[in-house]
């Protein structure tokens, strides 16, 4: 499966990349919101994992834009340090499929990705 990961902290980006590759996924990485949008258009990933607080444009905006594209529904997992109820609700309202709060366990992420892949 082709997964796009948008996350601005290099170490987290690397960890997520390695963990997902371990599961046999193809991983595209980007460290900012603007680049993420370009990659989504160019690479058409099967799943998106995005942070919220990123340079240039927020993860919430990415969800909004991806959902506005229409077409095949790409599952989106939000991975953010923001755990406030209103933010989580907003993410789901915008069309996120799952929400993981940092600090998070890479193993848990791997399982959630698997689950989403099955239902999608």
């Amino acid at each position: 499966m082709k997964i796009l990961v948008a996350e601005d902290e290099p170490i987290m980006l690397k960890t997520i990349e390695l963990r997902l590759k371990k599961d046999g996924h193809e991983v595209i990485v980007t460290d900012n919101g603007m680049d993420a949008m370009k990659q989504i258009d160019a690479e058409l990933p099967d799943l998106i994992i995005t942070d919220i607080m990123m340079p240039y444009s927020s993860g919430l905006e990415i969800i909004g834009k991806v959902r506005a594209l229409g077409g095949k529904k790409i599952p989106i997992i939000v991975l953010s340090a923001m755990g406030q109820e209103n933010v989580v609700l907003e993410a789901f309202n915008l069309g996120a499929d799952d929400y993981i709060t940092k600090p998070f366990s890479p193993n848990e992420l791997s399982i959630r990705v698997k689950r989403l892949a099955q239902t999608a």
Binding site: P10, T15, L18, R19, K22, K102, F104, N107
Partner: protein, 369 residues
């Protein structure tokens, strides 16, 4: 006019001025030379730091995704020997970057991944280096080393950290307090029994945030803190009561409604509102009637959430309050606490009059959206 010029010439003298100018020019030349060298140094250092970060992020993520003890031990050994091979083991900058990167990783991860990172940190002997900095460093180094130890879960050093929770330097003590809570959860809060300095809003925010991260709640000391002589401790205890909606605390909080400081009474009202149990509504009514204006407003707002439909009688007079914010708060409380609140409001007020001609539609619109 000559005399004027001569006055200057003899007192400050053009020669002396010229000499001073030489001094200035000397200073400028020295500063510029220093800047040139410093810039070169800083550029090199930044470039190296970037390189190191890249290298270490690779290492650390490998460690983070290790599964099982054997795998981890193997990876730790590999990583350590590679760091040694590259001659980075004794390099101070490299060590600094490594510790920082470990902290960054530990901050965002939980579970096995975080555990792995903590184990590596200790296995690499880095905790001794941090402890050394805690002993000898300047205040900002001390603060940072306390932070490092707590982020990397080094519980064995807790006594060394705890010692600083009442440090004279407010930044050190603040970090130490957050650190002990990070390491031991509610148990760490025991410094509240003895602290002599006030807790700032910022510290309270950090502590509450820390407690919310996977620590088992333990409320047995809260009643003591609610009676503390340190007003900021009372405030903090109320904040905990509010955040965790501690039902059992209702009685103790009610006690704080009579505190001498309006700020604490406000906080107590908010806490009562959050806990919201059957006795709350009556308490709020009593409080409303005896409070000064400043706190009354908070009470009215609380009644919007925790009021009961039987208490409308105390609210009606506030619709005629000279200050508009009171009218709004009272109207909102009426709207929220009675199923027919909105209808009754419409009947009671003059819709032609300011502010009702806008306020009533606003109250209705807010319900819909």
């Amino acid at each position: 006019m000559f005399s004027l010029a001569k006055f200057f010439l003899y007192t400050v003298g053009s020669f002396q001025l010229v000499e001073l100018m030489y001094v200035f020019i000397g200073i400028i030349v020295m500063a510029v030379t220093f800047i040139a060298f410093y810039l070169a140094y800083r550029t090199r250092r930044t470039a190296r730091k970037k390189q190191l970060r890249l290298l270490y992020s690779e290492h650390i993520s490998m460690l983070a995704i290790c599964d099982g003890e054997e795998d981890l031990q193997q990876t730790i050994n590999d990583t350590l020997s590679r760091i040694k091979e590259q001659g980075l083991a004794k390099d101070e900058q490299a060590r600094g970057v490594l510790i920082k990167e470990l902290v960054t990783a530990a901050k965002s991860m939980s579970g096995t991944a975080k555990e792995n990172i903590n184990i590596f940190y200790r296995a690499a002997g880095l905790d001794q280096i941090t402890i050394d900095q805690l002993k000898k460093g300047a205040w900002h180094i001390k603060s940072r080393s306390i932070q490092t130890l707590s982020h990397l879960g080094q519980k064995q050093h807790i006594a060394k950290i705890y010692r600083h929770t009442n440090n004279r330097n407010e930044l050190i003590r603040s970090e130490a307090r957050v650190a002990v809570v990070k390491l031991t959860g509610f148990e760490g809060l025991r410094f509240l029994d003895v602290i002599s300095y006030p807790l700032t809003e910022w510290e309270q925010l950090c502590l509450v945030h820390e407690l919310s991260e996977n620590h088992l709640p333990d409320f047995k000391h809260i009643p003591d803190w609610l009676h503390s002589d340190n007003d900021s401790v009372v405030e903090f205890a109320l904040r905990l009561g509010e955040g965790y909606r501690i039902f059992e605390m209702h009685g103790y909080v009610a006690f704080c409604l009579a505190h001498r400081l309006p700020a604490i009474r406000k906080k107590a009202v908010q806490t009562i509102r959050a806990i919201n149990q059957p006795a709350t509504a009556a308490l709020l009514v009593a409080q409303l009637l005896r409070e000064e204006e400043e706190v009354q407003l908070v009470v009215l707002e609380a009644m919007g959430e925790a009021g009961s439909e039987n208490d409308l009688a105390v609210l009606w007079p506030f619709l005629a309050h000279p200050r508009t914010i009171f009218k709004i708060a009272a109207a909102k409380a009426i709207r929220n606490s009675h199923p027919y609140g909105m209808t009754m409001l419409r009947q009671r007020v003059d819709m032609e009059m300011h502010p009702w001609h806008i306020l009533i539609p606003q109250l209705e619109e807010e319900v819909h959206s």
